[in-house]
Every structure is written in C-alpha cells, then in structure tokens.
Amino acid sequence: MRHSLDTVLPGTSVRLVRIGGERGFRCRLMELGLLPGTSVRMVRRVDLGGVLELEVRGARLSVRHGEARELVVEPL
C-alpha cells in the first residue's frame, strides 16, 4: 500500500505519510507545505533532469528523484 513518492505515476494524487532524510530537508519541505497528511499530485517526471514536479496546496514545486524516495505516500 505505502510506497515512496518517486514511484507515483504522473497525474495521480496521493497522501503524504512520512518524510525521511535529514532534519534540514524535512523542515524545508514542511515549510513549503509538504506536511504529512497533505495530498500531493504528481504533475510530471522529467527524467532527463532527474526531477519530479509536484502540486501541493495549489502550488508547484519540484524535488529530485533521490529525494522523492525519502517521501512515503499512500493512495488517497
């Protein structure tokens, strides 16, 4: 059921369960609105740049594939 954010298909919305990684990284993501419990939509993957684009609380932001692996999500 639960899996990491980098496996989510474009266009799909999921709920964020947990953020791993260092404290600085977790704080930054949370302050940008990526809090556990928030719903996140995968907008697109740009494999060339190794980056994912997400939509959170009506705003867009991008994280790297490697970083997205630290984000555990579950289906809505």
């Binding site: 977790r26 930054r28 609105g33 809090l35 907008v43 740049g49 609380r57 790297r64």
Partner: protein, 741 residues
C-alpha cells in the same frame, strides 16, 4: 519600547520599510515601482548578499527608505545568508529594525506565501501585504476575497499588479497608515499553540532570547523562540545566535526527541493548520477541467525529445549571440577607442604623459566598454528566461548533469556563456540564490575556453605546427588542436568544480526544492532595467578596477621612461620627414622607427626586468624572458599577448594572429645556445598555460564586483596560476622526457 514604532524612530532619519516575500513573487518589480529606478546597491554586513535601498515618496510628501530583503520561503535559517532575512525583517542585531514590513505575496500561490506572513506577524513587526500578480488569478482559475483575508490576518492587505501598476496608490496610502499607526499592522500572533507541552518549550527557549532581540516584548520573544527552535541545531552555520539560546534550543529538542515528539513538525503544522482552516473563506478555485496554459506549454518544453531540442536551440542562440553577433558592435567600440587613443597621442604628444593617457587610460576605458555588447545581450536573454519562467525549467532539465559536478542547475547558462567570455558569465551567476553556488560557478567559469584565447591558440598553432598536415588523411591538425583545447579546458573546469565543491566550498547537499513559476509574458521594462543596471554597475564598479589595472600595466610595460632613450628615434624621425618626399614611403619609414622604439622601450621596461629576473622560474615551462613579458602583458587581456610579442620582436604591437611576420620571427627566434626558442612543445606549453591561467584583469574585476571582496579574485588568480604553472611544467618536462622537441 514597541518594536518598529516609527514615532520613536522618526527623529533624525527617514522611516524604513523592509520589503520581503517568497522568491518569484515579483518583489523586485514592486520595489522598482515604489522606488523608481534609483536604488543603491550595498552589501549586508558579513555576507556577500546585495542590499538594495531605494527611496519612495508618500502622497503627503514624506520620504521613506525602502530596503530589499532577499526572497525567502520562511524565516527559518540554517546558513548565514538565510539569517539575513530574519535579521533584516525583524531588525535583529547587527541590522537596524525597519518601521514596517511590506510582504509581497504571489496571489496565485497564496497558501504557501501566507506561511511567511504568519511568521512575520508573530514577531510583532508592523506588517502589510501586497497581493501581487492579481492579474494572473483569472488565468489560474482563482478568485480571492481581499477583505476576508484582511479580516483573518488582521493586517492591511492591498491588491496590486507589478506588471500593470494597478493598486500602487492604495499601497502607498496603506503604507502611510501603517507607519502612522503601527498597531494597524500588529495584530498579534495569529496562530498560538494550544498544546501545553509545546507552550512550555517556547516559554523555556524564550527566556534565553537576548533582550536586544525582543526589547521586552514577550510575544516577540516567543516568536523568536519558535524561530530558534526551527533554525538552530547541531549543524547550522548561524553566526549571531548566543550560546545560551543555542543550549536552550538543543536541550529542549533533546527532551522532545526522547518523548517521541518533533517540535519542527508541531510548529509548522500549527501554522499551516491555521491557514488551511481559513483558506476556503478567502480563496476560491474555479477549476474548469482544462489544462492551464502553463501546463500546456510545459508539455512541449519539458518533453524529453522536443523540449530538449528546443532547450539546445535556446542555448545555441545565447552562445551564438555572445560569440558572433556581439562581434561587430565590439569591433566598432574597439575602433572608436583606437581612434581616441591615436587622437590623444597626437594631441598630447609622444611624451610619457601622452603615452600614459592614450595607452593606459583611454585604452583601459576601451577595455571596459568593449564588454558592454556581451553583457547587454546576455542579460537580455537572462531577463527573458527569468521573466517568462523558462529559467526554472532550464535548472530543472540540467539538474542531474550539473549536480553530478556539484554545481547548481542554473549554473548551466553562465558556464555556456563562459565559452564566449568569462566577464558577462560571472555577472550572470546572480541568477543563483545561494552564495556558495554563485562562488563555485565564478571560480570555474574562467577556465572555459573564452574567445580571447582563440587568437593566442591560432597564432601558436599556425607558427609552430605543421598546418597543412592531416590526421587519418582528412582531419586538419590545426582544427584538431583547437578542438583538443576546448575539450581540455572543459574537462579541467568540470574537475575543478567537483574538487572545489567538495573541499573549499563544501556545503550541505541542499535538497532541490525548485519552484515552477507559471509562464508569464515578459515584463519588458524589468528586462530592460536589468540590462541597464547590470551594465551600469559593471562600468562604474568593475570599470574602476579595470582602468586602474590598465594604468598599472602601462607603467609595468613602459617604465622606466627616459627622454634620452627617445632622442635617437626622434632624430631619425626628423631626418625621415626632411629627406623622404613620397608620403607612403615616409609613412612606412616612420612606422619602422616606431616599432624599433617600441621594442627598445619594452626591453628596458619593468616588465623586461621582471621577466629576466623570473626567467629561471619560467625556464622549466620552456618560456624565455621575452615570452615571460608576453605572458605578463596578457594580464590586460589574453589577446594582448599577440601585440606584446609583436612589440617584443619589433614587428609592432598592431600585429594580429594572422601576421606572417610574427610567425616567421617566432620560428626564427633562437636561444643563446642556438637552439630554436619556439618548438612545438613550447607552443603546447604556452597554450596549456593560457588555457588555465587567469590572464585577465577584467575577470578579476568582475569577481571583485560580485563578491564585494578582494579575497575571492585573489584566490581565483592564485589557484589558476598555480594550476597553469603545474600543467605547463608537466607538459614541457614530460614532453622532453618522452623525447619530443
């Protein structure tokens, strides 16, 4: 004393307003609209972050000082640069407190922007909000209720459009009201935790917040305690947090961790909870089921094949414009200054003063102005890419590649520009937010093969390598060598970035949390303004350094200047004028005398003395003292090497890389023992030296301008010179060991 009370501070100085907001909110456009075009750029103390200050006049004629604060998503800080935001907004020492804070909000990303607003309101600073980009709401399917937002936040909220200029009269009026009655913008913290444990954390830390931070205001002390809890940890780089505060934060965090709590999450969730609960009252979405314009554009521009092709095309245009299209204008500027130089010489005479004015001062000013076409062009493209939102996509697509060598995705454009010229490329590092990313890019861009190195390579290859031979029957040697020099410099630049990024400029691996701004039609006045301010600051700031260097180089290459030395040449000239009747012949004869005089002067110059003195140091590279003069003279600009060598050999400093006379002279030049001075191996050593050495005063002046200190330009010069010396040494000595000549 209430913080930021304009009446207490009014005596003797202008009221001060800090303008802050998230990155990409159009803060700069709002700042420019309010202050007009006369902002002064300074520097925040201790860090190399630009501090722009402008003045604005209110309707009643009062003047206000407006201070630009670097864009930030929150007040939390881990690095010293990030700390600037909270210090400038809240007036923490060493910075002065503003009398009010104007927060610029991107209306289309309201919820995320309000997080910062809540934090700032908590610190008891008088706040007002400017809802910018209101013109883009409809396209995004959003409707905002300004009055509801004002009611919930308890601070004045004004709708503006930086693009059209709407709402700015209202904004000025609101600013006046908040300055007159600070309490209008100081409603007290919007979100307060109900959790007694978190409350006790905040109170415990608040006791250790220095009095010079909170001025006896308890709510402010608690807000700064929350800031400290989110910012301070074992690995931060904050400079101004007291040891007591640090200890209090760490002990509270330890307690929380032992109880399985995460204070960061509790505070952040508290604020977002407050916003989420109220958001439906002031923002309404009208989704029409259609893809937004931005999404449709991104489908193409971020497409793996089409998008990448278009990206390469865009980069190709940028490069081509700097490399080729700027050329005619640069040539014209060169021509104008050559005429000015000749005019100055004939007006002031050939004495030392005339020569200094013409060849030191006028030529130095010419060097400065020749950069303008490339700077204007590059900033035109950068402004366009930033303003439309494409720059964020470039960083997006280049992230994997650039990150692998420790650079930011946005460093790609400066690196590409470096193939044309390092100077505009260094100025372009501004598009990166982190000081460390900018610095790293500045330190490696000068290694890219810029166009000023090409004439040097052309001369050496043509003079010392068999130009008519081919490899595999069809690949011409000169072309291959040129390609090899490009590959060599690029590889070294990438390796240097990787090494410097892991040693001297090692930084915490910051997660890429890029924002993808929606595409916008460029705001031409902003683009033009950026081109103008960049050029202007280059001419005035870097220009000064360049002109001073140019004059210093004149002394180096032309001193000691004795009138006695000039005498025999003067006599010769008088004789020629008296005896040679044919105008053309006379012109030629005078030119020959001029060249001989030039060579004689150079041979007695400081540069020659130094060149002879350091010949033992240069000998292991295969350089004699005459080459040493050429290398040192090239500090003015690399292509000056050719003219200097021309002067050294009496061929004239107007020799260019196509000069067959200079090529022949170099081939014929012998060492004291009779062996040729220039072998192909020496040529290779010279080229490697030029590829790696920082032979360019303008590059150093540009780095000085961007970092506001001499430390980094000096470091850049030192490391590149050492690198060049070692590499040339290895090439020359290695070549000799292998039996090459």
């Amino acid at each position: 004393m209430p913080v930021g009370d304009s009446r207490t501070a009014a005596a003797g100085r202008l009221a001060r307003v800090a303008i802050a907001g998230n990155p990409n909110t159009g803060k700069t456009t709002v700042f420019n609209r309010l202050t007009g075009s006369r902002a002064k750029v300074g520097n925040y103390p201790g860090v190399t972050v630009d501090r722009e200050v402008g003045t604005l006049a209110l309707a009643d004629g009062r003047k206000i000082e407006m201070i630009d604060v670097p864009g930030t998503y929150s007040l939390s800080a881990r690095s010293r640069e990030e700390q600037i935001a909270i210090q400038a907004i809240c007036g923490l020492p060493p910075l002065d407190a503003p009398d009010a804070v104007l927060l610029v909000i991107d209306s289309t990303q309201l919820v995320r922007n309000l997080y910062l607003a809540l934090q700032v309101i908590e610190t008891e600073m008088p706040v007002l909000l400017a809802l910018n980009m209101s013109d883009a709401l409809e396209a995004n399917g959003l409707v905002l209720d300004r009055a509801a937002l004002e009611r919930e936040l308890g601070v004045p909220v004004v709708t503006v459009s930086g693009k059209t200029g709407e709402g700015f009269d209202e904004l000025r009026a609101a600013l006046a009201r908040v300055l007159d009655q600070p309490n209008l913008g100081r409603p007290g913290a919007r979100w307060r935790t109900e959790d007694p444990i978190l409350q006790s954390d905040l109170n415990a830390v608040a006791k250790h917040v220095p009095a010079s931070w909170h001025h006896g205001n308890e709510s402010r002390a608690r807000a700064l305690a929350a800031w400290a809890l989110l910012s301070i940890d074992e690995r931060d780089e904050l400079a101004d947090a007291s040891p007591e505060l640090r200890a209090a934060v760490l002990s509270r965090r330890k307690l929380a961790a032992a109880a399985g709590r995460e204070i960061d999450g509790e505070i952040i969730r508290g604020r977002y909870g407050w916003i989420d609960a109220r958001a439906p009252s002031f923002v309404k979405e009208r989704t029409n089921g259609k893809l937004s314009v931005t999404d449709r554009i991104d489908r193409v521009l971020l497409h793996p094949i089409i998008g990448f092709t278009l990206f390469l095309l865009a980069m190709g245009i940028v490069f081509q414009s700097l490399f080729t299209w700027a050329e005619p204008v640069m040539g014209a500027i060169d021509g104008i200054f050559a005429t000015l130089e000749a005019g100055t010489l004939s007006a002031l005479g050939h004495g030392w003063f005339g020569d200094l004015t013409a060849r030191g001062l006028v030529r130095g000013i010419g060097v400065v102005f020749v950069f303008l076409p490339q700077i204007l062009l590059l900033f035109f493209f950068l402004g366009l890419m930033e303003d439309t939102g494409y720059m964020a996509r470039v960083a997006f697509m280049m992230d994997r590649l650039m990150k692998s060598i420790g650079l930011h995705g946005r460093a790609f454009v400066p690196m590409i520009s470096g193939f044309a010229c390092a100077v505009p490329a260094i100025l372009a590092t501004r598009t990166m937010e982190r000081q460390r990313d900018r610095l790293l890019t500045m330190l490696v861009v000068p290694l890219m093969t810029c166009s000023a190195r090409l004439p040097v390579y052309t001369l050496i290859i043509a003079a010392l390598f068999a130009t008519d031979t081919t490899v595999l029957g069809f690949l011409p040697v000169p072309g291959l060598m040129m390609v090899a020099m490009y590959v060599f410099s690029t590889v070294i630049a990438l390796v240097a970035a990787a090494v410097l990024g892991r040693t001297l400029l090692r930084a915490e691996n910051v997660p890429l949390i890029l924002e993808m701004p929606p595409y916008r039609v460029p705001h031409w006045p902003s683009v033009l303004r950026m081109m103008w301010t960049k050029s202007q600051s280059f001419v005035t700031e870097a220009g000064k350094v360049i002109v001073v260097c140019s004059i210093a180089m004149w002394f180096f290459l032309r001193f000691p200047w004795s009138a006695d030395d000039a005498q025999p040449f003067e006599i010769e000239r008088t004789q020629i004028v008296a005896t040679v009747a044919d105008a053309d012949q006379r012109e030629d004869a005078l030119a020959v005398v001029g060249r001989r005089e030039e060579a004689a002067r150079l041979e007695q110059s400081l540069a020659a003395t130094v060149g002879r003195a350091i010949e033992p140091v240069l000998a292991p590279l295969g350089f004699d003292w005459k080459l040493g003069i050429g290398v040192m003279g090239a500090f003015v600009a690399r292509e000056v090497f050719i003219g200097t060598m021309g002067a050294v050999y009496g061929i004239g400093s107007d020799a260019d890389e196509e000069s067959t006379a200079l090529r022949d002279r170099m081939r014929a030049e012998k060492r004291p023992d009779g062996s040729p001075a220039y072998t192909p191996l020496v040529g290779l050593s010279v080229m490697v030296f030029f590829a790696l050495a920082c032979q360019c005063m303008s590059t150093l002046a540009a780095v000085k301008r961007e970092t506001h200190t001499w430390r980094w330009p000096l470091f850049l010069f030192a490391y590149m010179t050492v690198l060049a010396y070692v590499a040339s040494f290895v090439v020359y000595q290695g070549g000799r060991l292998l039996g090459a000549t």
